[in-house]
């Protein structure tokens, strides 16, 4: 692995913007924060996966993956990052390295030719070139190829050096951010610039969530300069350094970008969320305050408050009909990071009971927020083995599971309602409208008559009594808060 990549990763692990890192001692900090993976019991994507997730939503560029087929072939066009126009980002482009290329050392040449073919066919404003394990192993220098191709063809070729084996998805997110800082952000100047320009970092416009937020910003006269990277265009990201404030929405994914943009261009940043009513309001408030501090007109703060009270009122009015239907229903919330705590308050407001929440990917900061919300020592679990979760759901410890796709079938096989709140979801849950959508989906799922029908034993099974399943030693899920 190249020296430069090693140095980059070491630097990423020593992130002064990261509270966890700052809290560490000198020795612990040197070790970095990658957790060792256990062979045979690991789940989750690699660094390349993370890099691709973070950058793929840039819609008008071609994402070219340099490697053997699987890296792109098994994973392209698989998320719902929506676009308001260009479709180029959905193309699955790969050098599809063959045995001969690897043995003969033809990788770099093949990559160069692939870049040319892509430019000839699509003339994109830029090409993002991703390295993967095999080219990294055989020493292909994608930086050199990209540099040469950029000069030769006049189309920016951006090298993303995040081969899978260097670490986790989260590290890949950050390496993608580094690539943006090194090669994209600040390379173009915007046509115009206003005192209310902002960037949103770490929002990928999954199922169009950005569009649930954009109208709110528009009503306040706040201009979204660049969303990094949901529904973004290359030139928007390239001119992102002219924004006045950065909002970081996905906890730690792009914290390095936020901090370095502050260092380089003096753009202050804050961490906020558009999941949940209270969180959305807080985010808008903070945005307004920070923009005014940077020269926006002072009445923005009052206008924001007006919008917040109107929108909150409207949201609660729309949620009111569901309160009766959902009160007392028990939710098992099983997902990492921000999403967990962001929606807790809305669910509680509906009278729903949280029985357990996962803090698998949450930072210490996140955990404290959950504790504050739940009041005291919340019932937080790091992970539940599938067998246990199956038994808990089968036993009826919870009425619904909110999680990502990985645990979908645990719930369904236990004949328990399940709602996808991770990146593969098909519904948009952001902003005030998003919370109404979430509650509506919860209700639709819980009130579906299918559950009663599928739980019923077949007539010939009824004589044998209750179906047997193994729940020995499985702890009960208890209500929290």
């Amino acid at each position: 692995m190249a020296e430069s990549l090693n140095a980059k990763i070491t630097a990423l692990f020593d992130e002064p913007g990261c509270d966890t890192n700052v809290a560490k001692g000198e020795k612990a900090r040197k070790k970095g924060c990658s957790k060792p993976l256990q062979p045979g019991a690991a789940a989750g994507g690699c660094a390349f996966d993370g890099a691709k997730i973070a950058l793929q939503p840039i819609t008008d560029v071609v994402h070219l993956v340099h490697g053997p087929l699987a890296c792109e072939g098994n994973g392209w066009d698989n998320r719902h990052a929506a676009t308001s126009g260009p479709e180029l980002y959905r193309i699955g482009a790969t050098t599809d390295l063959t045995e001969t290329d690897i043995i003969m050392g033809n990788g770099e040449k093949r990559l160069y030719r692939a870049i040319r073919e892509v430019i000839e066919r699509y003339t994109p404003p830029a090409i993002f070139v991703y390295s993967t394990c095999v080219p990294a192993l055989i020493g292909d220098d994608i930086h050199a190829v990209c540099h040469h191709a950029t000069e030769k063809f006049g189309t920016p070729c951006i090298p993303i050096n995040a081969p899978g084996f260097v670490g986790s998805k989260n590290l890949g997110n950050k390496l993608a951010g580094e690539a943006l800082l090194d090669h994209v952000i600040g390379t173009m100047e915007p046509e115009c610039s206003t005192p209310t320009d902002i960037n949103i970092l770490g929002e990928y416009n999954l199922s169009g969530e950005l569009w649930q937020v954009k109208p709110l910003l528009a009503q306040l006269g706040i201009r979204l300069n660049a969303c990094i990277t949901g529904d973004a265009r290359y030139h928007e990201v390239a001119t992102a350094h002219r924004a006045r404030v950065n909002m970081m929405v996905c906890s730690t994914a792009l914290i390095n970008v936020a901090r370095k943009m502050e260092e380089r261009w003096g753009i202050p940043y804050f961490e906020g969320s558009f999941y949940g009513i209270g969180d959305t309001s807080d985010a808008l408030r903070t945005l307004a305050r920070m923009l005014v501090a940077r020269g926006a007109e002072a009445d923005l703060i009052d206008r924001t408050e007006d919008l917040i009270s109107a929108e909150e009122q409207r949201a609660w009015n729309r949620l009111e009909p569901y309160r009766e239907r959902l009160a007392g229903k028990r939710v098992l919330l099983y997902t990492g990071g921000v999403k967990s705590w962001s929606i807790v308050s809305a669910l509680q407001e509906m009278g729903m009971v949280i029985v357990s929440t996962s803090v698998r990917k949450s930072t210490d900061n996140d955990k404290q927020k959950i504790k504050d919300l739940m009041g005291g020592d919340a019932h937080m679990v790091s992970s539940i083995p599938p067998r246990e979760m199956y038994a808990q759901l089968r036993r009826g410890d919870a009425d619904i599971l909110l999680s990502g796709g990985r645990t979908q079938f645990v719930a369904l096989k236990a004949r328990t309602p399940w709602l996808d709140i991770n990146q593969e979801r098909h519904h948009a849950f952001a902003g005030y409208d998003g919370m109404v959508t979430l509650v509506r989906e919860l209700d639709a799922s819980l009130s579906n008559p299918v559950w009663e029908d599928v739980r019923r034993l077949a007539p010939w099974e009824q004589e044998d009594g209750e179906a047997e399943f193994d729940d020995e030693g499985v702890p009960a899920l208890v209500p929290i808060g």
Binding site: P39, D49, L69, A70, E87, I138, K413
Partner: protein
């Protein structure tokens, strides 16, 4: 006789292929209490896992040796060992199928040797059968991976013929990767109807068909049992489907002496007839009434359906054996295959596809070919949806992956019954596209003159010479 053209492109744009390790994983999922294990970085597994879950809409127990930077530099043997021990301890599988990935193959690791040493020094693995197939991502695709894994299983788990083995009314079946769980079910019924006991390897009909189990199972939900695999030498015959299953079939024959027939396809009237008459000959039984009835239904379906196939232009992109099978089917029903794209080029059946050129390429080649030929139907997996939308041509989803339709496991394509449902599926697709005739469809309300000026001059010229 088609010419197979290898495109000299450096970039694959919208890949048609799925990788070989994924094919191997699917095969391993057809073994009872099995777990596939990818020997590589965790991303290799993650992508394959997500794709398989989207296709089958089932939990897929796919695991990884999670090679990190250190393992990549120093070698992955200890990762393989730790993974096997962890799986044996936590999930108690009966079978673990290891598929290597490009990462370890590029390093040039001797994974076979590593595995032998690991098995020798770890008594806790004695209860678990472990099989390893070499499936680098940079060579072959789904079919090669599936076939390699099947061959590896045969080599390690089948007991070679010995004088003590008594023949039994058993038929071995080696289905191709393009057979759905429903296809395997159809084959089982046909074989059983002649009084044979089918041993199907790999058998995904119960592990990937989508059903609700009575408890949480961390391994595959069903599949060929290890004892059945061991006893494959007892069969009177082996039936393999698709050219890619020739190597596993030959391997099995060499080990057991059981003769094998490789069917290029089992879709269509004639191939189904060949299967049924083979079984009748082997069993010395008459063809059961039920099958005769299914045949009569298929013939009727062909007659009813041929109206909608005739003159239609079809563009197909698939793995070679599926491409061959579908091309034969469409051509046999009167449609013309205008574009044929194969994911890999090694399969000799490609030359027998009824089309001028078979291109080894990607979905962009399919899109370009279909546009140029003015195709009426695109036939490929779900990733063809972008091309279909751009061209405004309907897409029939076949192969792997199909992630935007339900019930994929239950689509039948083999035997009389499977061919019948396939005809109806396609015909209904065409029927749905047809519309009520309007005057403007006919160019002009007044019938055009029989001879245009051009043709008239030409015609008179011809007459003049006579």
């Amino acid at each position: 006789m088609a010419t197979v053209i290898q495109r000299r492109k450096a970039a694959s744009l919208n890949p048609l292929k799925s990788s070989a390790p994924l094919g191997a994983a699917l095969a391993y999922l057809g073994i009872e209490k099995g777990i596939p294990l990818f020997h590589g970085a965790q991303g290799c597994t993650s992508f394959a896992l997500v794709l398989s879950v989207r296709h089958f809409k089932e939990a897929i127990p796919l695991q990884t040796t999670a090679m990190d930077e250190v393992a990549t530099v120093l070698g992955g043997a200890s990762n393989l060992e730790e993974a096997l021990l962890t799986l044996a301890r936590r999930m108690k599988p009966g079978f673990i199928g290891v598929a290597t990935t490009a990462l370890v193959e590029t390093r040039g690791e001797d994974s076979e040797g590593d595995l032998r040493l690991i098995m020798e020094r770890n008594p806790e693995l004695a209860e678990t059968k472990v099989v390893l197939a070499s499936t680098p991502d940079y060579a072959g695709a789904l079919e090669e991976g599936w076939a390699s894994a099947t061959t590896a299983i045969i080599n390690s788990l089948v007991e070679p013929w010995s004088p003590s083995i008594r023949s039994f009314q058993q038929i071995n079946v080696l289905p191709g990767v393009h057979q759905t769980p429903a296809d395997i079910e159809v084959l089982r019924e046909i074989i059983e109807s002649f009084g044979f006991y089918p041993v199907i390897l790999p058998d995904i009909s119960y592990s990937l068909d989508g059903h609700i189990a009575e408890s949480w199972v961390p391994t595959s939900l069903g599949g060929t049992s290890l004892s059945e695999i061991a006893n494959m030498a007892r069969a009177v015959h082996t039936i393999a489907i698709g050219e890619h299953m020739r190597t596993p079939a030959d391997t099995l024959t060499a080990m057991t002496g059981v003769p094998a027939t490789v069917f290029p396809t089992l879709t269509g009237l004639e191939p189904s007839d060949r299967l049924v008459s083979l079984l009748a000959r082997l069993s010395l039984r008459p063809v059961p009434g039920r099958l005769r009835r299914h045949r009569a239904q298929l013939v009727d379906a062909m007659l009813d359906g041929h109206f909608y196939f005739g003159g239609k232009k079809v563009a197909i992109a698939a793995d070679p054996d599926l491409l061959f099978s579908l091309s034969q089917f469409f051509a046999g029903m009167g449609a013309s295959v205008v574009t044929a794209i194969a994911s890999t080029g090694g399969n000799r059946n490609l030359q027998r596809i009824p089309v001028e050129n078979v291109i080894v390429g990607d979905l962009t080649d399919l899109e370009d070919g279909a546009a140029q030929a003015g195709a009426d139907l695109l036939v490929t997996h779900s990733h063809g949806r972008q091309a279909a939308a751009r061209l405004g041509v309907p897409l029939m989803r076949v192969g792997f992956p199909i992630f935007d339709r339900l019930g994929v496991a239950h689509e039948e394509t083999v035997g009389y019954r499977g061919t019948r449902s396939l005809i109806f599926r396609v015909a209904n697709q065409f029927l749905g596209e047809s519309h009520e005739h309007r005057p403007e469809d006919f160019g002009s309300a007044i019938p055009a003159p029989v001879i245009t000026t051009e043709e008239g001059r030409h015609a008179s010229g011809t007459f003049a010479t006579h």
